[in-house]
Assembly symmetry: C2
């Protein structure tokens, strides 16, 4: 049972509330705020021994805990605002180390203008950090996963793969600036951050948008020393995956103030993900995507 | 180092944001919402082996995870609205047990009209549940910890002590109805939920309000078989502790639709907590209050 099965099973537990615009199933929940803005709400838990070890730099662990949530808000087109942080701390972990984790968290928060407004500190057997983050997005800029249409270009920022092996999963920069530029200038039809690998996350967009896709193997931007299969399936790149109408993709190519790559095209075939190899032959993508669970 | 030391140390990490009305240091953070309402934001983490064991009924564990946060919102005078839930799940825990925990969480959420709008599910060595909850409170009804004034009556709902030993810590009802009645009819000057024991939590009010207090040992409402010392120091009662102007206390005694007890009086002596015994003699309270940390 992976994360998405569980989150699907949570859906039946949603209650109707006048504030809920979109509930479970995207990078963040969407809540009514005022005439012009939506509020966004997301939560991320990191666990020692699963997402990090205490041999890693504590400032980077704190950075990651905040950056994951900032990335979720960015992926909806939004601006992060206020966070509450719960930390479970084993007796064996010295307070000085915890303080450095907080420093990393705060440094990331400051960079993205997030206010740390509350917290809970408890005992735990393994160091555990949960960041719950609010954000805001202009209604007209909200992007979800369900708007990809056949013919849309599939794009990614940066390069993919090898995030764990390289340590990039601890030090990544959430693509907040890029996401805000995109919603303001390029109207992406769907967007999310790549946390489970390009193939796995594209499947979430395809499922939500009831569409298929063809990726171009030669186009996938891999980090040095990383295979296309790794780029498709490694987790925690935290780059943006987005789709655009073809005309918009051309504008983007001319004017975007950041690197991005067109890696394929949305197709009509429901729920199927294909990849074209160097010879131009398309086959079904086997890469499963990293599952955290 | 206890929870409050840590949360104090977090304060220096707060950023200024236009939305933040009150940050770290109360049951929930207070954020600007609109002309009439504030938004409230709180987070609570429960860890297997610390706050519960898997020998306890899973539905009750889920109930408690949501009820703790509802209690925080209620203690500010507010109405809970939307929650995001992170769950860390060990491989050894069967999905059916996790589903029953979710059922307990949802049942509590439904009872208090909370929408579960998002979640994160990760692997962990110990079952870990984090609930981050939003709420709303009319600006005129907001109650914090810092408004207690000398002469105010100190009151508690229900009975205290023995929450762990009796299992009440898993099945308690957050005092939402009582808190809303209080803010609408009795204007408490300070309020919080009793999670660390009457003495420990009253000290938080005294510190925030820069006041002292005298408790009346004979007045402390103890559960059957529980000593006054336990009632002062046991954790997780989740009753309301509140202070009222004396005139208001009289109105409350006549009209409140729930049981409450006057247990003492706020005094001017800064940061000192005294208790009068049966002979009428006052001594300093030794009870430390339960620390989760």
């Amino acid at each position: 049972m992976n994360e998405f099965n569980f989150i699907d099973s949570l859906k039946k537990f949603q209650n109707a509330s006048s504030r809920v615009v979109r509930g479970i199933g995207d990078d963040a929940a969407v809540l009514a705020l005022d005439g012009r803005w939506y509020q966004l709400f997301t939560t991320d838990m990191l666990v020692e021994g699963v997402h990090f070890t205490l041999k890693m730099p504590p400032v980077a662990i704190g950075h990651k805990a905040m950056a994951c949530s900032v990335s979720d808000i960015a992926a909806m087109g939004g601006i992060p605002t206020c966070a509450v942080v719960s930390v479970g701390i084993p007796r064996r972990v010295p307070p000085a180390l915890v303080a450095r984790i907080y420093q990393g968290m705060h440094s990331c928060a400051r960079r993205f203008k997030v206010s740390l407004v509350g917290g809970d500190t408890v005992r735990a057997g393994a160091l555990t950090i949960n960041v719950a983050l609010l954000g805001e997005v202009e209604k007209k800029y909200l992007v979800a996963r369900d708007g990809a249409r056949p013919g849309d270009m599939i794009c990614v920022t940066g390069r993919l793969g090898g995030s764990f092996a390289s340590g990039r999963h601890l030090t990544f920069t959430p693509r907040f600036k890029e996401a805000r530029w995109l919603v303001q200038h390029a109207r992406p039809t769907a967007m999310m951050d790549i946390s489970d690998g390009l193939a796995g996350d594209l499947r979430h967009i395809l499922k939500a948008s009831k569409a298929g896709a063809v990726l171009d193997e030669r186009a996938v931007p891999c980090h040095n020393g990383v295979s296309v299969l790794q780029a498709l399936s490694d987790g925690e790149d935290f780059e943006l995956l987005f789709t655009l109408a073809p005309a918009r993709a051309k504008v983007l190519a001319r004017s975007a103030p950041f690197a991005f790559t067109v890696v394929g095209e949305i197709t009509a075939a429901s729920h199927r993900l294909m990849i074209k190899d160097i010879s131009g032959k398309a086959r079904a993508v086997e890469a499963k995507g990293y599952t955290h669970f």
